[in-house]
Amino acid sequence: MRTILFLLQKEFRQIRRNKTILPIIFVLPIIQLLILVHATTFEIKDLNICVVDLDMSNTSQRLIHKLEGSSFFNITSTSFSFKDAERQLAANKADMIVYIPQHFSQNLFKEKQANIQLIPSAINSNVATLAFSYASKVILDFNKNIITELAASFQPTPMKTIDTQSRFWYNSELNYKWYMFPGIMVILITMIGIFLSGLNLVREKEIGTSEQLNVTPIKKHQFIIAKLLPFLIIGLFELLLATLLGKLVYNVPFEGNFWVLVGFTFVYLLVVLGIGLFISTLANTQQQMMFVAFFVVIVFILLSGIFTPTESMPIWVQKFNLINPISYFMKVVRMVMLKGSGFKNLIFEFTALVVYAVSILSLATLQYRKTN
């Protein structure tokens, strides 16, 4: 026990002396949480539209006004030639072309059917899909008005309608930052758990001091505990820092019980520290450690549901996520912070993380004993 305390003292001293790690622990989280939350957004606004209106009728003008009135679109130019509009797309001056053909309003009122072409630049397929669906919604709303006007002329009884009211719970303003903030927090804690601790371990290997430690009476498990514990503490500290920042800067709600989150973070940190330890046994140099960890972290993070919900992913990904600790923790953090989910709602996730922690730490310790 005393040995561990001495080793911990050594670790903390080394961390304090290490001029690169210190700013990373204090400054990086602040930068990440302040900047990245603003940057990671899939919100759409201010899409530039180039309108090609070959009809120039009252109806087409009304439709264009309606599009302009939406906060998503800016009509930046109008043109009479499709080629010209195409050039605008190519030069990135326009994000979408709205093409209203000749005889548009004639067709609409005589034949009861008219076409409009929406041509978004689909390089970013997400943006293109959202742009099309928003534009369609505007057009379909406009259509409903037209139909009501048309129908009024030959429908003697008034239309039956359904009044739909939508309520958005937990995030009534659909603030995307409230969604991304927990995500960035999870990335932060993961990086500290895997990268910092893993690099720390491999550095000793690379410069040779871990061999020297091996010939001392210090037992392997004491060494491992002393190496991982500081980062466990730092990780919990980051959780506190991040929660405060979230409250102060973004007003992210914290509906749930703080201690529930602390408990989950504790177990999750054990998991990622275990992963870091395991990777460090596979790497001989810090560069290798960095690359392997980077690869693992990237794959896990992308599939964890940080940007897009896991339910929309293909089945094989959802099965893979059963062994992806980040997917569990991501869900937990969002649910506890935004919805106030309690421990009894999250028993499955907790059990999964505990099992994961025990297995990965045992596996990593065994592996460490074998290679040292």
Binding site: T20, L28, H38, A39, T41, F42, I44, D46, E86, L108, K112, Q113, A114, N115, I116, Q117, P120, S121, A122, I123, S125, N126, T129, F132, S133, S136, L140, I147, A151, Q155, M159, K160, I162, T164, Q165, S166, R167, F168, W169, Y170, N171, L174, L199, N284, Q286, Q287, M290, F291, F294, F295, I298, V299, L302, L303, T308, S312, M313, R334, K339, G340
Partner: protein, 368 residues
């Protein structure tokens, strides 16, 4: 010249002895492209919903069937009261609750107006607004059907043509970004590490004491990574063409030229980082956190820069990968020629020269 070539050979040996790093270098782009290509999409399907039906009459039944017959929704459960809503949201599976008012059918038929409430779990804002849109559209369709007005027969039909990317393959967006990231990883990160490693382990002093000129040392360290990067670019292009059908609509030689230019930029960045780092850890952390992370997030790789707050939008101008990604997209997907990309090319050229000058200034021949 012979000295130089044998030095380059030594560097190649170093690289190829480290199989783990090599596997990762070629594995990362492959994994990234596969993940982005297959796993990440914002399309919604199979969303779990719950229904709270206070009326339970024929009309609500018809509307419920219509909603559930679409691909977007899966019925999770029928609720009995409003009190159950909070609990079911907290459980996490259900994303929307649809509430029919009492006497829904009667109100709809006799009084011509009935109410529905949609309660959405907005902790995932995009999902919530998409679900809201889909549900509202289905309800609107139902209304028109019940009034015997068929939406398909009267009105405006918007048709869509997805320009440049008719099948909406998300890979179009990610391949240019993946190329930029992997080139930065190899050319900037690895170069800075290899130079700094020699400094940290003390072998740099030995090299400087040898007849090799310092400029030859740097050049010799850089050449293998240039070739490695080119190899990786070809792998990425090949993979995206054969697996995902991503075309190169513009001139291939222009694309390769721009890639080489960006590789040069990353190499000079790597050298610059190595001149300011004393230890490998420093070089790694600066490259990772100062270069790779902002590049991934602020360059337009995943998140469109246009939607970020102004200050971040202007910062993205300083990110070299942002310009490279623009150029690659323009050449590969739009088929633009040099006339459209000369501005961005000049910017990259300028940045490269700047970094080279800074490195030359900071490179100390004597180690202090």
């Amino acid at each position: 010249m012979k000295r130089f070539l044998s030095f380059v050979k030594k560097e190649f040996h170093h690289i190829f002895r480290d199989t783990r790093s090599l596997i990762i270098i070629f594995g990362i782009p492959v994994a990234e492209i596969l993940i982005f290509g297959f796993a990440i999409n914002t399309d919604l399907k199979d969303a779990h919903i719950a229904i709270l039906d206070h009326s339970k009459d024929a009309t609500t039944q018809r509307l419920t069937n219509k909603i559930l017959s679409s691909d977007y929704f899966i019925l999770d459960s029928y609720l009995q009261s409003e009190k159950e809503i909070e609990a079911i949201f907290k459980q996490g599976k259900v994303k929307e609750v649809i509430i029919f008012e009492p006497n829904f059918g009667k109100n709809f038929e006799k009084q011509g107006k009935a109410s529905i409430q949609l309660i959405l779990d907005a902790s995932e804002p995009n999902t919530a607004s998409m679900l809201n849109g889909y549900t509202s559209n289905i309800i609107n369709e139902f209304v028109l059907q019940e009034n015997q007005l068929n939406l398909n027969n009267i009105g405006i039909k918007p048709t869509v043509r997805m320009f440049y990317n008719p099948d909406l393959k998300s890979v179009f967006m990610f391949v240019p970004g993946t190329m930029a990231i992997i080139l930065l990883l190899i050319s900037a990160l690895m170069t800075s590490i290899t130079i700094t490693r020699e400094k940290e382990l003390g072998t740099m002093e030995v090299l400087l004491g040898s007849p090799l000129k310092p400029s030859h040392i740097i050049l010799g360290k850089v050449v293998p990574y240039l070739l490695l990067s080119l190899g990786n670019v070809i792998t990425i292009l090949g993979l995206s063409y054969f697996v995902f059908g991503l075309p190169v609509r513009g001139s291939l030689s222009l694309l390769i030229f721009e890639c080489l230019l960006f590789i040069l930029l990353s190499l000079s960045l790597g050298i610059l980082i190595s001149t300011v780092s004393k230890t490998m850890q420093q070089a790694m952390l600066i490259s990772m956190i100062g270069l790779m992370m902002p590049s991934m997030l602020l360059s337009g790789f995943i998140f469109p820069v246009e939607n970020m707050p102004d200050i971040l939008y202007y910062i993205s101008f300083l990110m070299p990968p942002r310009w490279f990604i623009e150029i690659v997209k323009a050449i590969m997907i739009k088929g633009n020629g040099i006339m459209f990309v000369w501005k961005e090319t000049l910017i990259i050229l300028g940045m490269t020269l700047f970094f080279i000058l800074m490195s030359v200034k900071k490179f100390k021949i004597r180690l202090e």
